[in-house]
């Protein structure tokens, strides 16, 4: 399979602009800004079928078309490099090993958005990644691919690397804007939508790193080429899959959209970590999406296939769990994450996430009560759909799916007042 997004990462000095240019880098930007209108760029992305790779899978071209056609105020493109969804580490790979691909995608996107500046919001922990981006931005400015008079066309667009400081919620697009404005990372109620009233009140589009990294090739090789890769016209392109957990070869794998999960686990991933501990469960799209039981794992990794299984591709963070995993402990750990990361603004998430975590802790510690399982599900149901942002849903779905699909395990913990998973160990 042809490497698209990962074609540069193994080259020596892959981060340098020289290497990037030698491999055809910035051709896409040059073509876009010198021979296409912003509307034509948007159209190309629409035709490619590209869908957001940050977690929501929203059609990118459609999102881009929400920006005002007529520019009367400042426009902004924000690159969401806050990658914090558990199980996800693909954006990091791109930024650390091939930052220019991200930057070129940002600049083409900025052109399509008629943006005055593109801010790359990178999570605070990615210190090395931020440094790679900083150096690449300086190189891009020096060669006229960013800043004033981009590619000699007279279009000015700044490219700025902005570091976060430790908050998963800032990956939510409206919280990213609030954080960029210098405040607590609280999501905003929508409407108004970012394309009408975004950062500093100006029309704004927010896109994930990988999503933007797909754009240069769409421009150079054409949307039809991109749309020809993958499952169908709604699940297109080359995709980065993050594999982790009880697996021989964890890591990032590039494959066409729609890669069979079993192929990822058994072939690319080298199979289960321990030969005597088969697959028990798998979360296919980052911890926010519902878990799959082993027998549900004969599926393809694309947006619609997983949606049909009532889960999701999300951020493509595939977390593999073998039979040594205590699902109660796993859920407790996941719930702790959401309770820790909740911004605290709205009632159901703020209070409910902590409540669920504390109930799970007592079940795990052998102090669970008979009503706890149904109570957990009920709390999750009361959070879902009632919050300002999707973190509430993201906290609810794991609870709902775990206690439904592994109910017997939770019941056993409560009945026997201890962990009943044989050989539960974590190494």
């Amino acid at each position: 399979m042809e490497r698209v997004l990962t074609r540069n990462i193994h080259k020596e000095n892959s981060q340098s602009i020289g290497v990037y240019l030698a491999g055809g880098g910035y051709e896409g930007l040059r073509k876009a800004v010198t021979s296409m209108t912003p509307a034509e760029v948007v159209d190309a992305v629409k035709k490619s079928g590209l869908r957001g790779r940050g977690g929501a899978g929203f059609p990118t071209g459609l999102k881009w078309s929400f920006m005002p056609q007529e520019k009367t105020k400042k426009h902004y493109l924000l690159c969401n490099a806050d990658e914090s969804e558990p199980g996800t580490f693909k954006d990091r790979l791109l930024m650390e090993q091939d930052p220019h691909m991200t930057l070129e995608g940002c600049m083409i996107g900025a052109y399509a958005m008629q943006a005055d500046a593109c801010y790359i919001y990178i999570r605070g922990e990615f210190v090395f990644g931020a440094r790679m981006l900083d150096e690449a931005v300086a190189e891009a400015y020096a060669k006229g691919y960013a800043g004033k008079n981009v590619c000699g066309t007279g279009w000015n667009c700044d490219l700025v690397v902005h570091r976060g400081a430790g908050a998963y919620i800032c990956g939510e697009e409206t919280a990213l804007m609030t954080s960029l404005e210098g405040e607590r990372g609280n999501p905003r109620v929508k409407p108004p939508f970012p394309a009408q009233f975004g950062v500093w009140g100006m029309p704004t589009t927010i896109n994930n790193v990988e999503t933007l990294a797909c754009v240069p090739d769409i421009i150079v090789r054409g949307p039809e080429w991109f749309a020809g890769i993958g499952t169908d016209e709604r699940n297109t392109g080359s995709k980065l899959y993050c594999l982790s957990g009880h697996i021989q070869r964890p890591g990032v794998y590039e494959a066409p959209m729609g890669l069979p999960l079993k192929e990822l686990i058994n072939d690319l991933g080298g199979g289960m970590l321990h030969p005597d501990r088969p697959l028990k469960a798998c979360i296919p799209g980052g911890s926010s999406v519902p878990v799959l039981r082993a027998e549900e794992c004969d599926c393809n990794l694309d947006f619609d296939s997983l949606a049909a299984l009532k889960t999701g591709l999300g951020s493509a963070g595939i977390m593999v769990m073998d039979t040594s995993t205590c699902m109660v402990k796993a859920l407790q750990r996941i719930s702790h994450f959401y309770a820790h990361e909740s911004c605290g603004q709205c009632t159901p998430c703020r209070e409910g996430c902590g409540w669920m975590e504390r109930i799970l802790l007592r079940i795990e510690e052998g102090r669970g009560l008979q009503q706890d399982i149904d109570l957990l599900k009920n709390i999750a149901d009361n959070i879902e759909g009632r919050t300002i942002c999707a973190l509430g849903d993201a906290a609810a779905w794991p609870v709902q799916s775990f206690v439904t699909k592994f109910r017997d395990e939770f019941q056993a913990h409560i009945d026997e007042k201890r962990c009943t998973v044989q050989g539960a160990t974590y190494a």
């Binding site: 908050a167 919620i169 607590r184 109620v189 309770a339 820790h340 990361e341 909740s342 911004c343 605290g344 603004q345 709205c346 009632t347 159901p348 703020r350 209070e351 409910g352 996430c353 902590g354 409540w355 504390r358 109930i359 802790l361 007592r362 009503q371 109570l375 009361n382 759909g385 009632r386 919050t387 300002i388």
Partner: protein, 533 residues
């Protein structure tokens, strides 16, 4: 104009109106915490979730704008389930403080728990504890764990006062309201955060444990702290069955809170006005008519003595009057009729200025009725009258005491020695009363009904909230008694409205108005005060 159907009732609203505003405007209560008409929309409490037909999820009414043809249900099973779940979430970490919390009886958590809650707690995994009874400012106590994170107080300090003292710290269910270390919530409007706090997280220190709110009798009135005339609700402790604490039923003012008037003070009041009753309640009062040595006089005798002295001085043009800018229009009009009837006097109004106007409500002119005084009595300053007294031009000087704050009474600078007779009319023992030869007690603010004109020319009603102390009586009644004693023809006024209407018939400035038409929100005359500013 968009039409929306709420619970089967179709209403038409202005574009931009939210579902919550639409519902509330028709008296349809949708429970909510974080929304406040004087602040920006936050949308974070989630209590106002309602069903909008064709929308997949429940939507918050406070932020959803009405679209033409929208159909909303606020009372069906789906909405009620959401409401009870939000109530449950709010209560899981909320301390069971009702027995010791000032908010009880006017607490939205209590009210909505009864109306929308399940009545049973399913939470038994330990509440998140925070700090209690934290002193955060001269007038405010914070109980962090009672807070439901509605953010009203943060928005108030950012949007209304622009002082930004409060913010949220930490995140998740560890979120709490706090102050920057070493700072104080000391803006001049800090008390308002206690009003807008839907629970007992922010409370006014001066009201802490004073009384239960259900023992309060509320009277709508107007603050007399400055010329802005913010609309208020004055709460007096009243006698009740089963009351065991005498302090609660002493008929004293227990608190003052703002009353909404979009044309005057919006939703707010300054701290000084809010707490003005403290001076009032604690000041020493003139208990009865008395002479300069404090010997009690019979009222008939006192008024006769006063009037004789005034008439004699008036006959030779040597009568001086210093009027209070906090007296009601009715009192000042009765004074004018008295003076006209006994032959005239030099009248000046005390100019009570302190500090500067701010960009919110505070006015440097502390004369709540300075505009009324200027209209009724003219613009002569009291200083001129005092000077006349010092120059030996007056035989009798009548001084009106301040009706709100004894410290605001004019200092005569020894003029008492320069006149033959100093007559004092007012409620308090103060600088002027101590120098007087004759003292007639009048009622204070909140003890008489009457009208005042604010700095924007608005005629507003101050109300009697409790009995006058001692033998105090409304100023217009004192002056009417003096007119009778002087044999001056006068009407037999028995209540303020009669005085007002007589004044209206007499003075063009009040033409076209009537006492019956003034109402709770006052009457705009469109003429801002020109009074000697």
């Amino acid at each position: 104009m968009p039409k929306v159907t709420i619970d089967g009732v179709e209403i038409e609203v202005q574009p931009g109106t939210t579902v919550l505003q639409a519902a509330l405007s028709r008296g349809r209560e949708v429970p909510h915490y974080c929304y406040h008409p004087g602040l920006s929309i936050a949308g974070n409490c989630r209590m106002c979730l309602v069903e909008v037909e064709k929308a997949p999820k429940l939507m918050i009414a406070c932020q959803t704008q009405v679209a033409d043809g929208m159909v909303v249900n606020t009372r069906n099973e789906r909405v009620e389930q959401a409401q009870s779940s939000v109530m449950e979430f709010l209560l899981i970490n909320h301390p069971l403080d009702c027995p010791i919390c000032d908010q009880a009886g006017e607490c939205r958590l209590q009210e909505y728990a009864v109306e929308h809650g399940t009545g049973v707690s399913r939470h038994d995994v330990g509440k998140v504890a925070q700090s209690k009874a934290v002193d955060i400012g001269p007038h405010i106590t914070l109980d962090q764990e009672r807070c439901i994170q509605c953010s009203r107080c943060v928005r108030f300090c950012n949007e209304v006062t622009g002082t930004g003292e409060l913010d949220f710290f930490q995140r998740g269910d560890r979120t709490k309201i706090g102050l920057y270390p070493g700072k104080s919530l000391d803006n001049l409007y800090s008390g308002n955060v206690a009003d807008i706090c839907p629970v007992g997280a922010l409370t006014v220190k001066e009201f802490r444990f004073a009384t239960r709110v259900w023992y309060l009798k509320n009277t709508p009135s107007v603050c007399a702290g400055c010329s802005k005339g913010c609309n208020v609700m004055v709460a007096v402790g009243r006698k009740q069955e089963l009351m065991t604490s005498p302090g609660q039923m002493d008929d004293g003012i227990k608190r003052i809170v703002p009353r909404v008037n979009e044309d005057v003070n919006g939703h707010w009041i300054c701290d000084e006005g809010r707490l003005s009753y403290l001076k009032l309640e604690s000041a020493e009062r003139l208990p009865y008519a008395q002479d300069g040595d404090g010997v009690e006089l019979d009222w008939e005798v006192a008024t006769l003595l006063a009037v004789q002295s005034m008439q004699t001085a008036a006959a030779t043009g040597r009568l001086g009057i210093i009027a209070s800018p906090r007296a009601t229009n009715e009192t000042l009009y009765a004074l004018k009729k008295l003076v006209d009837g006994i032959g005239g006097a030099r009248i000046g109004t005390h100019r009570n200025h302190r500090g500067e106007d701010d960009n919110l409500l505070i006015r440097a002119d502390k004369g709540a009725n300075a505009a009324g005084a200027a209209t009724i009595l003219g613009t002569e300053d009291a200083v001129a009258v005092t000077l006349a007294a010092r120059n030996g031009e007056l035989d009798t000087l009548v001084v009106m005491g301040d009706s709100l704050d004894p410290a605001d009474t004019i200092d005569l600078h020894g003029a008492a020695e320069d006149v033959g007779q100093l007559i004092f009319v007012g409620p308090f023992v103060d600088v002027a009363s101590k120098a007087a030869h004759l003292r007639l007690p009048a009622s204070a603010w909140a003890e008489e009904d009457g009208t005042m004109v604010n700095c924007d020319g608005r005629i507003q009603l101050v109300r009697r909230c409790h009995r006058p102390r001692g033998e105090g009586r409304p100023g217009w009644l004192v002056f009417q008694d003096l007119m009778r004693a002087a044999g001056v023809e006068s009407s037999a006024w028995s209540e303020w409205g009669e005085v007002y209407d007589a004044m209206r018939d007499d003075l063009d400035a009040f033409g076209g108005t009537s006492s019956a038409a003034i109402g709770l929100l006052g009457l705009s005359t469109g003429t801002p005060a020109a009074a000697g500013a």
